[in-house]
Symmetry: C2
Subunit: 461 residues, 2 copies
Amino acid sequence: MSDTAAIEAKLKADQPRHVDILKRFVAIPSVSTDPAYRQGVADAAAFVAGRLREAGMGEVAIHPTDGHPVVTASWRGAPGAPTVLVYGHYDVQPPDPAEAWRSPPFAAEIRDGRLYARGASDDKGPMLIPIAVAEAFMQADGRLPVNMVFLFEGEEEVSSAHLEPFVAAHRDLLKADFTLSADGAQWRADLPSVTVASRGICALEVTVRGPGKDLHSGRHGGAVANPIQVLARLMAGLHDDAGAVAVRGFYDGLDPVSEAEVAAIAAIPFDEAAYLKEVGAPEGAGEAGYTLLQRNWIRPTLEFNGVHGGYTGAGKKTVIPKEASAKITCRLVPGQDPARIVDLLARHLEAAAPPGVRVSVKRETGGAPAYAIPADHPGLALSEDVLEGVLGRRPVRVRMGATIPIGDIFKRVLGIDTVFFSFATVDEDYHAPNEFFRLSSYQAGMIAWARYLARLGERRG
Amino acid sequence: MSDTAAIEAKLKADQPRHVDILKRFVAIPSVSTDPAYRQGVADAAAFVAGRLREAGMGEVAIHPTDGHPVVTASWRGAPGAPTVLVYGHYDVQPPDPAEAWRSPPFAAEIRDGRLYARGASDDKGPMLIPIAVAEAFMQADGRLPVNMVFLFEGEEEVSSAHLEPFVAAHRDLLKADFTLSADGAQWRADLPSVTVASRGICALEVTVRGPGKDLHSGRHGGAVANPIQVLARLMAGLHDDAGAVAVRGFYDGLDPVSEAEVAAIAAIPFDEAAYLKEVGAPEGAGEAGYTLLQRNWIRPTLEFNGVHGGYTGAGKKTVIPKEASAKITCRLVPGQDPARIVDLLARHLEAAAPPGVRVSVKRETGGAPAYAIPADHPGLALSEDVLEGVLGRRPVRVRMGATIPIGDIFKRVLGIDTVFFSFATVDEDYHAPNEFFRLSSYQAGMIAWARYLARLGERRG
C-alpha cells in the first residue's frame, strides 16, 4: 500500500484554501434548467476548467454541446496503471423557493461546520474533491498514481440530456477502466454506505386548456369546464387507491428482484421512525404491499413535482382559468424504458381528456433508465475497503431512489461500470432550500480519494 | 314624463370630460384582495368622495371599516318624492396575469371605442354614471328629481366582507325605498336585459402539508406522501363523474324552482354555440341533466379558482414539495347558507385526509347567499321601460351566475330590494386580462339613469 501520509497532511493543511475555492464556485449560479441562468452555467464551466489547469491536468477543454458545455481534462502518465474516468457535474438545481433560504443561495455561509449554498452538496463540493487530490499528488510527486480522465457536465440536473452523444463522439478521449463518480450522495450521515444501483427517470408536463381566456367564475361557472378541475381528475387517475400507478403497462417487463436482494435490503439497519422524523413527514406513504425502502429503491414511482393554475396570490380571485398544468417525473427500475413510459403516460392522459378541454402533453427528452453495478466489480470492493479505513466502519451496500444517468450512459456507450464515491450525504437538502455540505465530509473525501487512487495505482496490469 | 332632453344633451356634450374622469379613476390601483394595494384602495375612496362633492351632493363621508372604507353622500331635497339608494364599488380585481394585458392594467387605453383598464367595466365606469347624472341635474336644475343616497364600497371583490355591519350601523343614513345598483353587468351586449337574481358565494382554501421541507423526488419518492398527489385526489373527489358536487348535504334544502321559471329560462334567446365561441371553450361542461343556462343560473357550483404546489418555473425540478394548496369558491342558489356550505366542504376535506399528510382548510369569511327581486317590484318595471326606450328593445329578465352580496344585505338589514341598473356587459373581460368598458355604454347609461330618475320623480307619494 502506498504511503499517502504526506499527501493527506498536505490536503488537511490546505483545507482553508479548498473551502475558499468552494465558496467561489457556489457563488456562480449555474442553474441548468432555467435559461435565465445560461451565463452562470457558462461561468461555472470556465471555473472548472481553470481548476483543472491549476491542478496540473492536461488537455483541459470546454466542449460546447446542444445544451450546456462538458469540461474534460486528462493525465495519462502512468502506463500500465489503471485509468479512471472521474465524473461530476457543475450545474445545480434552481434556488426556489428563494424566500425559504436562511442565507442567500448563491453566497456561501458557514454555520456549524456546514457550508450553506445551492450546489454545495450536489455536486460542487464533492466534484472539487478529486481535482484537489490530483493537484496534491502533482504538487507532491509530480505525478498521479493512476491515469485519470475528468468529465464534468453541466446538465446533470436536467437528466444529462446531451451527455450521451458527447460520450459517443469522444470514446478515445474517455477511454478508461471504470468510472469513479464524485456524484451520488451517500445514503446517510450516520452509516457508511456504497451505492450499487440507482433508479432511472423520465419526465413530462401535462397542460389542460379550457376557455380561450380566464373567465369570471360566477358569470360562467357551471357553463364551461374548469381546467383545474379536469387536471385534478387526470392527476388523481394516475394512481389507484393503493398508491400504485394506474396506467396500463407501467409495470410491464420489470426485471425480477431476487430474494437475496430483498433479503439484503431487509438486513440494512433502517429506523423508519427516525427517517420520517428527519424529513418531517407524519407517516410513510406510497405503494401498498412494500416496505418503505423497497418503495424507495426497487419500485418505480410517479411523482408530481409541480402544479399550477389560476390565481395563487393573496386573497381570492373568482376566476375559471384558461389553463392549468402539472409537471410529472417517474423514477424507473430495471426493465422500464424512459421513452416508453413517457409515451404510455402521454397517451393515457390524452385519452382521458373529457369534453370541453384540450389536453396536451410535453414529453421531456433526456430520460435515463435505471443502473446497477455488478456486485463483484473490483472498483466497488476497493471503495468499500477505503471507506472502512477512513470512516472506521465497513459500509453497507445500498441503492438509490434518485437517478444518475451516467451509470447507464457509460455502460452502454463505453462499456464501463460506475463506482459511486461521493462524499455528499442525502440529508444535505440538495434540491431544497438551505442546501449544505459538511466541511468534515469535504476533508474526509479528499483523504479517501487520495487513498483510493494510491491503492488503485498498485494494481498495475 | 319629465322632459330630460336638456339633461341628456348636457351629458352627451360632457362625454370627453367624463371619459377623462374615468381615465383618472382607473389609474388608481384599488385591488381590494391584496394588501399590497391598500394605498390604492384608499386613494380610490378619496377620488369617489371628491367626485360626489363636485356633483353637489351633501354629507360626503369616507367611513373607515374593519376592511376598506365605505364612501357615502346624499341629497334629500325632494320631500314626498321616492328615495333611491345608489350602490356601486370602487375596488377592482387583481390584474394577474399581468403579462396577458395588451396595455398596462392601470393606465387607460382607448381602442375601437373601448376603454381598456382593470376596473373600467367592473365597476368604475358604471359607478361614475349616477354621479355624472346627479351632477348634470344639479347644474341644470339646482335639484334632483328624487332623493338620493350614494353608497360606494371598496370590498365588493372580496365578497363585501364588512358591508353588512356598516349598513346595520347606518340605517338612518341609508333609509330609502329601494336600491338602484350601478353594479351587476348586463348579460349580453346584443340583448337588453334586466337581472332579477344572482347566485351567492362562499370561499375556502385547502392546504395539504406533507414533509417538513421540500424533498428530492428521487431520493424520497415512494417513501412519503406527495402533497400535490393528495391534493389532486381531494380535489377530484369534490365532483362526481356526472359533474355534480359530491359532498354530502351540498344540495340539501334548495328552494324549488318553479316550472314557470324553468320555462322562462328556456324561452330566452340563447345561442349556445355562439356563447362557447365567444368564451373560446370547445364545448359546454358541467352538471349533467341541466341546460347550460340552468347550470349557470339556477344550479350551485364548486369552482377551483387556483391551485399551486411545487416547482412551476421553466424546465423541471425533481421535488416533492412540502405543501400544495387550492382556492375554491362555490356559487350558491336560494336555500344554501354560505357558512353551512363552507363548513360542509371543510369537514369533508379534513375527513378525507389520508395518512402521511395534514389537511387544513381556511374558511374565508364574507360569503353571501343568493338574491332575487320580487317579480312585481315597481322599480324593476321602470328599469324595463327605460331600457326599452333607450335601447329600442324590451329587455328580457335574466339571472346572474355571479354574486352581488348587496342584494341580500340590503334586503335583510334595510328591508329594501335592489334593482340592477348597470351598463357594463358580461363580455367585457372583468376578472380577466384586457378588461374594457364600451364608451357607448358609458353614454347610454347616463341617458338611461337620467330618464329613470326623472320618471321616478313623477311618483310622488
